[in-house]
């Protein structure tokens, strides 16, 4: 019983880490650019393929492949901002939704053509290493997911809270017009935000690709959950996204472990609907009332 519980907690932390890394980019892009990026799951998917290529084909060490995939996707994120988001920024909301949805479909189908629709396995040097304690065995890969996520969250937190770039990002999120009056270059901040968001999604893809499988459709499956995470955390709220990612990850894995894995997706959307009814601003919605 205890072993089962610990096992599910570990699984929950792995899921929560994945959701966190994807959700952070999604919520930051929404907060700063005001765009709901439906193609964010595809950035996660492309990140996984980039990591798979670097690690399996080029035989680079896993950590190097992880960093490489993050850099490649950061560039993709910047291209996406420049070619799609920036022209859409002044457009009506419907145009933005159609635009990013179009990119999502385009990227997924491009991946199907390039990599075939069949799932690929992504073995790494950590897949067959186990850490045993209290009678359970955990692969190093799972520990790595959680550990690297914590490191990335810490780095992001430092960036947002203490650096000049982070302060400018928060300013753009809280009041874009006033940010411009301070002399902040909103285009540059948007570009950096998309680069960071895409790199974090790529990290998620590379980290969990070896645990599950890598396929062109993986983004589609992840994004529904991640939207639940972002809404639960309060749209645009970075800290809220982190907490709700772990809440959902743990709820899902504990449901799967103690009831049935048939219910694990139901619990996520059950929580989401309950939150939307009783606390539509999200569990961690901003409570500071802006005075006019």
């Amino acid at each position: 019983m205890l072993q089962e519980f610990i096992q599910q907690i570990v699984n929950g932390l792995v899921l929560g880490s994945t959701y966190t890394l994807i959700a952070l980019g999604l919520t930051m892009i929404y907060g700063i650019l005001g765009i709901v990026n439906w193609a964010h799951g595809e950035l996660y998917m492309l990140g996984a393929f980039a990591g798979l290529y670097l690690a399996v084909v080029l035989k680079l060490p896993f950590i190097v492949a992880l960093l490489g995939a993050m850099i490649i996707l950061a560039v993709c994120g910047m291209l996406l901002e420049r070619l799609v988001f920036r022209p859409l920024r002044q457009a009506p909301e419907l145009n933005m939704i159609i635009g990013t949805l179009g990119i999502s479909i385009f990227l997924m189908n491009t991946a199907i053509v390039l990599f075939s629709p069949n799932p690929l396995s992504f073995p790494t040097e950590y897949s067959n290493e186990y850490l045993s304690f209290l009678g359970i065995a955990i692969t190093m890969q799972r520990l790595l997911v959680f550990f690297i996520t914590v490191v990335l969250i810490a780095l992001l937190n430092y960036l947002i809270k203490y650096t000049e770039l982070g302060k400018a990002m928060r300013a753009c999120e809280q009041n874009p017009d006033a940010a411009r009056l301070m002399g902040i270059d909103i285009n540059r901040i948007s570009l950096v935000t998309c680069a960071i968001g895409a790199a974090l999604a790529a990290a998620a893809g590379v980290l969990v690709g070896p645990i599950f499988l890598v396929s062109p459709q993986m983004g589609l499956l992840a994004i529904a959950k991640v939207f639940a995470v972002v809404i639960l955390g309060g749209m645009g709220n970075v800290e809220g996204a982190i907490w709700s990612a772990f809440i959902l990850g743990l709820a899902e894995s504990l449901t799967a472990g103690f009831f049935s894995s048939d219910y694990k997706d139901i619990i996520t959307f059950f929580i989401l609907i309950a939150v939307l009814i009783f606390r539509p601003q999200g569990l961690f919605g901003n409570n500071v009332i802006e005075k006019v």
């Binding site: 009056l181 902040i184 500071v288």
Partner: protein, 234 residues
């Protein structure tokens, strides 16, 4: 110092400014008065680069700055303290002030500005670690002015700094505006409170539906029949 020639701004099909001419000399306080929708705020937004003019020019210190990015305008020495305070609510008072100096190259040299801002508004020094959104309306206004001063502007654009403040605070804000001006900062002031504004300004412009209908020394405007009827409620 600042010269607007035939400046026009359109929002879609609405002509918010229909080609206005204005001049502000160094060291002056110039006030814009007019009803809601007369084009006062639009004038300031066009100067600071938040809206792109449809026609005409803005010259600052002899250089044409029309249609430049807001960032370039701030760098050239114009700070805009916008209507409704527009502080960053989920950042601390200190962070708000720090962002005011965002374009400054001499970031290690901000002590003088902090000192000056805290001298004008001692309450901000007390609350420097507090989130700006939790300040009272008057304190937020002080923060907005202080933040604009952090850029060390030559020209300060103030949009309705006394809006919604208690009468004793209005007095205080006007006193401080005068003090800022005495320290050599040129000021362009929009005010609902035309009486007070004409009291501290050197000159004024009266805007009506996007055009300048009257201009002159503040004391003359104060005794002008039209101004007295329409804006001073006499």
């Amino acid at each position: 110092m600042l010269k607007l020639s035939n400046l026009a701004v359109h929002y879609g099909r609405i002509k918010a400014l229909k080609g206005i001419d204005m001049e502000v000399a160094a060291g002056e306080i110039v006030t814009l008065i007019g009803a809601n929708g007369a084009g006062k705020t639009t004038t300031l937004r066009a100067i600071s680069g938040l809206v792109r003019p449809a026609g005409g020019t803005v010259e600052f210190e002899g250089r044409t700055v029309t249609g430049l990015d807001a960032r370039e305008i701030v760098k050239s020495g114009i700070s805009h303290c916008p209507e409704g305070r527009q502080i960053f609510p989920r950042m601390t008072v200190a962070e708000n002030l720090e962002l005011g100096a965002y374009t400054r190259k001499d970031k290690h040299n901000l002590d003088a500005e902090y000192q000056r801002v805290f001298e004008y508004f001692p309450i901000l020094a007390e609350r420097r670690r507090q989130l700006a959104g939790t300040l009272s309306g008057g304190e937020q206004q002080m923060l907005a002015i202080g933040r604009a001063l952090m850029a060390k502007p030559k020209l300060l654009l103030l949009d309705e700094p006394s809006l919604g403040l208690a009468p004793f605070l209005v007095e205080k804000i006007f006193e401080i505006i005068r003090a800022i001006n005495r320290q050599g900062v040129t000021i362009m002031l929009i005010e609902q409170n035309a009486y007070q504004a004409l009291g501290i300004a050197h000159r004024g412009y009266v805007l009506e539906t996007g055009s300048v209908v009257l201009s002159g020394p503040a004391h003359e405007l104060r005794h002008n029949d039209h101004v007295r009827k329409a804006y001073l409620g006499e």
